[in-house]
Structure formats: C-alpha cells, structure tokens
C-alpha cells in the first residue's frame, strides 16, 4: 500500500466556472508530487463541525512545480454548496488515495459525463506524454456546463467530441451516441480500433458505456464514486459489488474493470 499523508493545505483560488461548477486550486506540495491519474483526495474543511465526514474529490490537475492541485466540483449538497464561499484558508487533504487508470493500451477512448471529466484529465496527460493516440468524449447538460472542454482542447490541440442534453453545443442528447459512433469508426487519428475505454460519470452512464465496451470487445474501466466515511479502507462504507465479492471503492478502486462490476 502506498503511503498516505494528511496534508495541511491552502486554498489559493476558487472560482465559479459554470452553472453550480467551480474550480478550486489548492497548495498541497506533497500530494501534488505523488498524485497519479484517477486518484483522489479526502478533504476536511474548517469550521464545519456539524459535518463530521470528509468529502472525496478527484484530482483534476496537478502542478509539481507550483505544488498545487486542482479540484473541479459541482454543488450537489450541503458541503459542496458551502465550498464556493471558501476563497482562502487552510484545509486538510488525505491523499493520494486509490488505484490508477490503466495506461496499457494503443488506442484509448475517454468518456466523461459532467464532473466525471475531472478524474480523466490526468490520464489524458499521461497518454499524450506517452504518445498513445486517444480521443475524448465529454457530456454535460448545457454548453455552459462543458467546463473541461477548454483544458482538453489545449492538451489535445483539437476539439474533444462533445454532447449536451439540451443541444446547446455539440451533438444533442446524451454522449452515449458519440461513444457508439467512435467505437464503430475507430480512433480519429488513424481509424484503428480502440483497445481501452475509460469512463467516469453518473452510474447509469457508466453502465451503458460499459455495455457498449463489452459488446465491442474493448477493455473498459470505470471510476466508481460511492459515499465514503474513512476514505482509506477501514470502514467498509463504500463497497462496490463485483464478481469477486464486495470491494472498497476507496482503496481497491476507485477504478474498476467494468466487466467485474455487478451493477
């Protein structure tokens, strides 16, 4: 097991980037140095005594030189609704937690629904660095919510494939039709078939894409986000049903082989 730290970190910036979507940049030099694609941090915010549990967030980006990590988060409940008001101050991060995406592939397709785009970005960076061709499909409710598009575009030097539920940008409807299209046409660069599909987003989306991957015979990994208490493997709050029994999504995951998950 890799070593975990509980790092005293500092919020540097925290800006609104879309509807109920925010980007937090955190000074956290130890974790910035050791974080791997797909891993997450378990965050304790100050002055929230009534909220006795930490909140888990994927690391969207990292910069070893500046010792910072980025979190892309959505307001969904009590703590995430309070987070936008935290413009500075000390927080605590346990990390880096969890396993990492596979990079053992020759053509990869990355599929991110909503904030599910975040934990895939460091994988995209790794693939780019290794010279492995990959394509990216992003889905969101509206154009404004496609907040990861620019970052992917800058990395890939071309547009990722996008879908919006309301049709305000890219292909209208769910991004699953884009996945179908890509799987049948192959990698944009050379038309060769993909041999790896990485998916993160709402569970129903991951399930549909996992089925598509299975039908196409493409190895598929998903990132499972369960409610977590300890975040480090001790409490069994976060289990995922798999063909090998119940597994802890925090440290046996969050990345699972899709064909092992019992949905």
């Amino acid at each position: 097991m890799s070593h975990l730290v509980n790092e005293k970190a500092r919020i540097l910036t925290n800006e609104n980037v879309g509807p109920r979507l925010h980007l937090m940049v955190i000074e956290s030099p130890i974790i910035a140095k050791s974080i791997q694609p797909g891993q997450f941090v378990h965050v304790k915010f100050p002055d929230l005594e009534a909220h006795i549990l930490r909140r888990p967030f994927s690391v969207y980006g990292h910069n070893e030189k500046s010792g910072t990590i980025d979190i892309l988060y959505q307001e969904v409940g009590s703590v995430t609704r309070l987070m936008p008001s935290m413009q500075s101050g000390e927080i605590e991060l346990i990390g880096p937690i969890g396993n990492t995406w596979s990079t053992d592939c020759t053509r990869a397709l990355l599929v991110g629904g909503g904030v599910g785009a975040a934990p895939l970005f460091m994988l995209a960076e790794t693939l780019k660095h290794a010279g492995t061709p990959f394509d990216v499909i992003l889905g969101a409710q509206t154009k404004d919510a496609l907040v990861a598009r620019d970052r992917y575009k800058a990395l890939m030097e071309r547009e990722p494939c996008c879908a919006t539920d309301d049709g305000s940008y890219g292909s209208p409807g769910f991004c699953t039709s884009l996945v179908e299209e890509r799987l049948s046409q192959g990698c944009i660069e050379d038309g060769a078939p993909y041999d790896f599909l990485a998916v993160c987003g709402p569970e129903p989306l991951m399930r549909i894409v996992a089925d598509m991957g299975a039908k196409a015979g493409v190895r598929t990994q998903v990132s499972m986000e369960k409610r977590m208490a300890c975040g480090i493997g001790a409490c069994l709050s976060c289990v995922v049903d798999t063909v090998d029994g119940k597994k802890r999504s925090c440290i046996d995951g969050p990345i699972f082989e899709a064909n092992k998950v019992v949905w």
């Binding site: 097991m1 300890c230 001790a234």
Partner: protein, 311 residues
C-alpha cells in the same frame, strides 16, 4: 510524514480493564479502524492502549446493500451489516500483524446464533493472539427469535455464560443503547460472567431524502454514531457505573481528550475512539495527548484517579 505517537509524560496512564492491561486508556471502537493497518500511516498503532478489531463471525458475512452510510447533523448513520471475511482471515491476516508490531488486541466477536459466538471464540483460543474479547450482542440472532440478543436480559445471560465457558481471557460485553433500562442488561452480562462492559453501540436511526422520497440507506435504518450520541452515551455509562462493579469501556462520539475525560468521570476505566477517526486519522493519539494535557494541567498524577470521580 511520520506516524503520530503519544507525548512523553510523568502522568501514569495505565489502566486495568477487567484483567486486560492497557498502557493507556484509549482503544478504538470496533468497525471504525479495521485492525489498524489502514491507519498505520497516521498513528503508531502499537502505542494505543489496545486495538479493537472489526466484528468477526465464523465464516464471514457479506454485509448490507449500498448506500451504507449517511451523514446526519454531528453524526452519521451506518448499516455496514457486520461485513467481515471470517475468523480465519482475521487470525492469519490481522492478529498476527498486530502481534508482530507489539499491539494489544481486543477481538470483537459477533454471531448469528449463540453457538456461532462460541465457535468464533474456540477458533481464537486455538491461537495465542488475543488479549481480550469484546462480545457484540447487538447482532440480530436466530436464537433470540431474530431479535437483537442485547435487548433481552435472559438471552444476554445465556450467551455470555456460554462464551465464559469457552475462554478464561478478559471478556468485555458490548451493550446496545436501544433498550429502556441499560442497567438491567449490564447486570445480566455480569451475571453471565463479563469482566467488563463496553457501551454504547450505535443508536438506531433513519435519514430520508425528501426530494427522492426515499430513505438514504439501502436498509432504511442504521446505527447513529459520532458527537450527536455523546450525551446519551455519557448518561448510560454513568447509570451502568452505579449499577455494576465491573470496569467500563466508554464510547460514543469521543473526538478529543476532554470528551474522553468526561467518560472517565462518568465511570469509564477506558474509552474508545470511533467515528472521529474518519474525520481525523490521528484522533486516537490526539485523544491520548489530550488526556495527558488535562492531567498535567489539573495536577492528576494517575488517570485512575479520574474514574467515576464525578462530583
């Protein structure tokens, strides 16, 4: 980052919990710390008074469906369902590790039948890896008509005397707070042969998502823990301390040294840190250090002076 260790002090911290020697009064609440390995990056597990392991059954249990937890104001609900891989796995994987690092171990035992408790203890008695048992009588049990044993004094007396025959090691009986009169259950446990009583287990509760019109937990109900239960736990420790002569292991919402002192004043000889570990992975050592700080500040030379010292 180095794992945290307690500060050095002249205050005498050792306590005797019904025959179990503890170097300080702080252990962990079963199920919140696994067997300690997961926390060993944060705290030097062997420096704790003892490590209480996750509830273990004979062959292992799958546990409940997800979602298994929900946060509530100053607390949380859980319905893990005593998921565990069985006693053999605990022995081979965890108890040997605890022995190797020099930790004191308390093994929390659960069973679906009276006989299962005895079989688990028998399997553990065949090793020399257990320093004390904590018998969790909050499990639903076939021999108690599917009810929790811990709510019926006759069942408690019966299962605890069966366990008593299986071991001469210190035996702690862990009570459920979901009863009308906790002292009645505590007396039954002592009659059955308990050397110590631990309390409280979680309080049955529920959380609802108004927008989805559904319970937050897959099993609808779960056990409440964390600071929200502390007043109930303190009251019960205080009541049981007056009712029985055996030492008590107090728990329920302890997050710092002062919380721990309050339990000792109410009558606890030792205390357990549970849910607080999730928020603060060094909570156990922080509690020990908080106890030390209180004692030094208050001129307490030996923590035993504090037990039941409520004025």
């Amino acid at each position: 980052m180095n794992a945290a260790v307690p500060s050095t002090t002249d205050v005498k911290l050792a306590v005797n919990l019904g025959g179990l020697h503890m170097k300080n009064p702080v252990t962990v609440a079963s199920g919140t710390f696994a067997a300690g390995r997961e926390y060993s990056d944060f705290v030097a597990v062997e420096t704790l008074g003892a490590v209480t392991t996750k509830g273990v059954s004979l062959k292992g249990w799958e546990g409940n469906a997800s979602p298994r937890i929900a946060e509530t104001p100053s607390g949380m609900l859980n319905s893990i369902g005593l998921q565990n891989p069985g006693v053999k796995h605990l022995i081979d994987h965890d108890l040997t590790w605890l022995r190797d690092i020099g930790a004191t171990s308390i093994v929390n035992v659960s069973g679906h039948s009276f006989d299962e408790y005895v079989q688990v203890i028998n399997a553990l008695e065949a090793t020399d890896l257990v320093d004390a048992y904590e018998i969790n009588i909050s499990c639903p049990n076939v021999d108690a008509g599917g009810m929790t044993i811990g709510t019926d004094p006759a069942s408690v007396r019966e299962v605890i005397s069966m366990c008593r025959e299986a071991t001469s090691k210190p035996m702690i009986v862990k009570l459920t707070p979901n009863v009308t009169d906790i002292t009645e259950i505590a007396r039954a446990a002592v009659d059955g042969g308990a050397n110590a009583i631990s309390l409280i287990n979680t309080l049955l509760g529920m959380a609802i998502d108004a927008y989805r019109r559904k319970p937050q937990l897959a099993r609808a109900v779960g056990g409440l823990s964390g600071p929200a239960v502390k007043p109930v736990a303190l009251r019960m420790v205080w009541e049981v301390h007056k009712a029985v002569d055996v030492p008590l292991l107090g728990m329920g919402g302890i997050a710092n040294g002062i919380d721990a002192i309050e339990f000792m004043l109410a009558g606890a000889t030792a205390i357990a840190v549970g849910t607080a570990n999730f928020n603060n992975p060094t909570a156990t050592v922080d509690v020990i250090n908080g106890i030390i700080e209180y004692c030094e500040q208050q001129g307490v030379k030996d923590v035993n002076e504090l037990i039941g010292a409520l004025q």
